[in-house]
């Protein structure tokens, strides 16, 4: 190899090895992790949802959570002709959507002191849905207590 070609080869090698390094040296970074703990507020509002549930039907009730906190849903009573108070109904919690309530948390439960459904939610509009899961032979009167912050 001629000397000129040697030089060129050397330059080419150096350029391809180091030439395209666009990195700028930076100082070591100190990462500080800040953990913010948001305390879930306890329920401060309470509403009672009393309605009639038809056979194979469902009804819902909307409420507004004003701050991050705990929402408690209690199916407190079920009654009616040919409706045992121990009948199991569907209880759901979600958000109002179109003409219904799109639930994200569901449980099949008998009435009781409850809460049968509980969770921690951000501020927003939510809904509780009561539905017949196939146990009703006649319309049922029910009461649901919704407690939220």
């Amino acid at each position: 190899m001629k000397p000129a070609a040697r030089i060129c080869s050397l330059i080419l090698t150096l350029l391809t090895t180091f030439g395209c390094r666009g990195d700028t040296p930076t100082s070591p970074t100190t990462t500080t992790t800040t953990t913010t703990t948001t305390t879930a507020a306890s329920p401060i509002y309470s509403e009672e949802f009393i309605d009639i549930l038809s056979v194979s039907g469902s009804v819902f009730y909307s409420f507004t959570v004003t701050q991050y906190g705990t929402v408690n849903i209690s199916l407190t009573s079920v009654s009616g002709a040919f409706v045992p108070s121990t009948v199991t109904l569907g209880l759901g919690l979600g958000t109002p959507e179109a003409e219904g309530c799109s639930t994200t948390s569901n449980v099949s439960t008998q009435s009781g002191a409850g809460p049968q459904l509980t969770g921690v939610y951000n501020p927003g509009v939510y809904c509780v849905k009561v539905s017949d899961v196939g146990n009703l032979y006649a319309a049922a009167r029910f009461a649901v207590t919704v407690a939220y912050p």
Partner: protein, 138 residues
């Protein structure tokens, strides 16, 4: 080719090769308004509502786009409202009594959240009628 010429050529290639100008031109982002069509049958003296969620704040408009009995357009007046789902209904914040129209009859500035549009017969329809409400939101 002389060594100097070759070096110059290599330098040019290296300089071009190191360019960071790999930017791609992008179009400005525009958000098209979304349209909700809420259709149903309204019984005399009845109320119906429809809930929707805004993922972007902005202006919401609503109009009673059609009201028909069978396939005949009807001139009856209904109450149209925009509000927030509450209890077993829709708590309206703004409302208007209106007949069908092709222009917005209600407007509401709303933040991100869940809202509803409500239609009510407050004057007593002679029979059940089919309606369509058009809601346009960000």
């Amino acid at each position: 080719m002389s060594a100097i010429r070759l070096m110059a050529l290599i330098t040019v290639f290296a300089a071009i090769g190191c360019s960071d100008a790999a930017e791609t031109l992008t179009s400005p982002t525009t958000t098209e308004p979304a349209t909700i069509l809420f259709s149903g049958t309204l019984q005399p003296r009845a109320t119906r509502f429809y809930s929707y969620t805004l993922t972007t704040g902005g202006s919401v408009t609503a109009m009673l786009a059609s009201l028909e009995r069978g396939s005949t357009p009807m001139p009856n007046t209904l109450e149209l409202g925009l509000g927030v789902p509450a209890g077993t209904g829709c708590a309206v914040v703004t409302s208007a009594k209106t007949t069908t129209s092709l222009v917005p009859q209600l407007r509401q500035d709303a933040a991100i959240g869940t809202y509803c549009v409500r239609i009510s017969d407050t004057e007593g329809l002679p029979a059940a009628m089919n309606f369509t409400i058009r809601v346009i939101h960000p």
